[in-house]
Symmetry: C2
């Protein structure tokens, strides 16, 4: 059953961290090259981008495809497992949005009082 040991932790390990969610979000719309991702994921450094992608690759969430050509070209895409993560990410983001809204409302209330 659910919550035996710590499946929650397993999931958080995979999608946790500062950038992975964002990367997965962008990959959901199709394969992306490294440089494309770096433009899409605002403010990410190359190190964190590559590092995150490596971890996601090892976890079986993204797939890395190399084209042997000059200049080099590499594309990242979601695996089936990666796509299965999308609804979860959306749910999390929705809650985050709802939560942020609530904070704002509460502030307004306390100002009115």
């Amino acid at each position: 059953m659910i919550f035996c040991y710590n499946q929650l932790e397993v999931c958080l390990k995979v999608i946790g961290g500062k950038w992975k969610g964002l990367i997965l979000y962008h990959l959901h719309f199709g394969p992306k090259r490294t440089s494309e991702l770096q433009k899409l994921v605002i403010n990410i450094t190359q190190k964190m981008l590559i590092q995150s992608l490596r971890e996601l690759e090892n976890d079986g969430i993204v797939k890395r495809t190399t084209y042997n050509q000059v200049p080099p070209k590499v594309e990242y895409s979601l695996t089936e497992l990666g796509f299965s993560l999308h609804p979860i990410l959306v749910t999390l983001a929705e809650w985050g949005g709802m939560y942020s809204d609530q904070l704002i409302n509460n502030e307004e209330e306390s100002q009115n009082v």
Copy 2:
């Protein structure tokens, strides 16, 4: 709009970390005293328990009730916002379980090949 800026990060900030999910899980079944929680959440240190509870309290997820008596008694319970988190945690844990199963199957496959 979903995924504007980083609502995902907001959510992960609240439920992320090693213990918060577990704590919230146990609180879902009703208010708990500090010492009860420490027994339920296996291996958590007192520091991390209190620290996690404080953060959840500041985020409006749990409510802390003190009873003025000797010996002191404190109870923690979920707020409405806290309860709204439960389906999300379940989804995350389900995915974690599915993911773990998949890992096992893949290992078996690669052994058969």
